[in-house]
């Protein structure tokens, strides 16, 4: 799956979890947790949604290393098929 399409999917799911985030101006390098106030429940909901959409299971230990949207896309790109 190409990165643009992947980005759209991640942003769509992020926006469903945190509807008040303005995804149009989201900075790819910003720390999601701090800049966008994502708590552990939001993070888990995002992982659940991405697992459902992309069939990529991100273990918690891997997620803990990802800080930003860019990190997330870097992780997903080689793993997401189709």
């Amino acid at each position: 799956m190409n990165r643009e399409r992947l980005r759209d999917i991640v942003l769509e799911e992020l926006s469903a979890i945190a509807p008040d985030i303005d995804i149009a101006t989201l900075d790819e390098r910003a720390r999601l947790r701090d800049e966008y106030d994502l708590d552990s429940m939001d993070a888990l909901n995002l992982l659940t949604a991405l697992h459902r959409r992309l069939k990529v299971d991100i273990p918690e230990t891997d997620y803990a290393r990802m800080q930003s949207l860019r990190d997330l896309l870097d992780y997903l790109e080689p793993r997401a098929g189709g």
Partner: protein
């Protein structure tokens, strides 16, 4: 036959606005069915009916603000159905809709609401507040949130610039209704309740180890968060300490029969709501976790039910990973205890005769001194600690 009344959704609520009817005169309703949406300081709340029957007459039209206890509709056997719909109230709702808004594309068929409440997709509290400020009708806005819910960004361009943080205190504008409600409840709490405070540090090695092992084999949808363990341990301990679980009213303290555990949930636009998980002490961890997720989702995007708001028998606040080490809560009247969990953090702890680096959390409690003393409170906190040392048994 009886009247369906404007419910009291918390000790601080004096009036509410009937936002919409989910039923019409002549409809048969079942006990527990959501029949109306009421706009309160806590956002839009779905209100259930307490008896089965037929909606015979709606007394009050949408967008009408009435005091708590005002009859809204008559529920009966169906002999006297009055089909005239009352006029929508004219209260602070401008009659005209800005041009940009009427040109919004038709939303088309909506997916079913996640709350399962009915045909209306709902709206986030921030969006409802903003819509009111702008004088928009939410029904005419295409929602892009979960289940078609109207969220803040859907209102952008509809009535000018949408501020990034509506309702944030100190933002220069009028304090919002939610801020006023929090102010009223907390002022009453500090005026009437003689709080006492206790805190202790818990070693979470056992809980964290168990949680990691549990989650390793689970897909994301079935994973647990530490917050669920905190809630369950607290609910169990409250069963053993009934003096901390209940309501203090005019006649004095009345302990509750089960633990309806409130969870303070912060809203991104500012403010917080503490809806309850009913009977939390009896829920297995996966079920408790699912309820918690559902509650957070509905608190933030709309669809809380009247039976979840203003009914908690004790409340937990957990700061999570963005918090600080310790929180001392303020009791939400008429409750008598607020239990606080700070951020889980690796810290040096004395373990046996060694210094160890362990995941730890500061557990605190604010309790009502009219009902119990610090000695009992201390035993209660130690009981929560004991529960968390055996996570496999939670």
């Amino acid at each position: 036959m009886s009247d369906f009344l404007m419910p009291s959704l918390g000790a601080d609520m004096e009036a509410g606005t009937l936002a919409e009817w989910r039923v019409a005169p002549g409809d048969r309703v079942e006990k527990g069915q959501i029949i109306a949406v009421v706009e309160t300081a806590k956002g839009a709340i779905d209100v259930e009916v307490f008896e089965s029957g037929v909606v015979e007459e709606c007394y009050v039209g949408p967008n009408t603000r009435v005091p708590v206890g005002t009859p809204l509709a008559r529920i009966g056997g169906g002999e006297r159905v009055v089909h005239d719909r009352p006029e929508p109230g004219a209260v602070d709702e401008p009659a005209t809709v800005p041009e940009a808004e009427t040109e919004a594309p038709s939303p088309g068929p909506r997916p079913p609401s996640p709350a399962g409440g009915g045909p209306s997709p709902g709206a986030s509290p921030a969006a409802r507040r903003r819509a009111r400020e702008l004088g928009l009708y939410l029904e005419r806005v295409a929602g892009s949130g979960p289940g078609g819910a109207v969220v803040l960004r859907d209102l952008e361009g509809a009535g000018g610039e949408v501020s990034s943080a509506p309702g944030r205190p100190g933002g220069g504008g009028e304090p919002t209704e939610m801020r006023r409600a929090i102010a009223a409840a907390m002022t009453r709490s500090k005026r009437e309740i003689p709080h006492y405070y206790l805190a202790t540090t818990l070693d979470l090695q056992a809980a964290e180890g168990w949680l990691e092992a549990y989650n390793r084999d689970q897909p994301p949808v079935s994973r647990l968060l530490m917050a669920a363990l905190f809630m369950k341990a607290t609910a169990r301990a409250l069963v053993s300490y009934p003096d901390l679980n209940g309501h203090y009213e005019a006649q004095g303290f009345r302990p509750a029969e089960r633990v309806d555990l409130g969870m303070a949930i912060h809203l991104r636009a500012g403010g917080l709501i503490a809806p309850a998980i009913c009977g939390a002490e009896a829920l297995a961890l996966p079920e408790l976790m699912a309820r918690l997720q559902d509650l957070v989702q509905r608190t933030r995007s709309g669809g809380l039910r009247a039976s979840e708001v203003g009914t908690a028998t004790a409340t937990v606040t957990a700061l999570g990973e963005r918090g600080v080490d310790t929180v001392y809560g303020v009791i939400q009247p008429p409750q008598v205890a607020m239990i606080g969990f700070g951020r889980v953090r690796r810290r040096p702890l004395a373990v046996d005769d060694m210094l160890a680096i362990r995941p730890a959390v500061d557990l605190s409690q604010a309790a009502d001194h009219r009902v119990c003393d610090g000695h009992l409170g201390a035993r209660f906190l130690n009981e929560i600690d004991a529960q968390l040392q055996h996570p496999e048994a939670l």
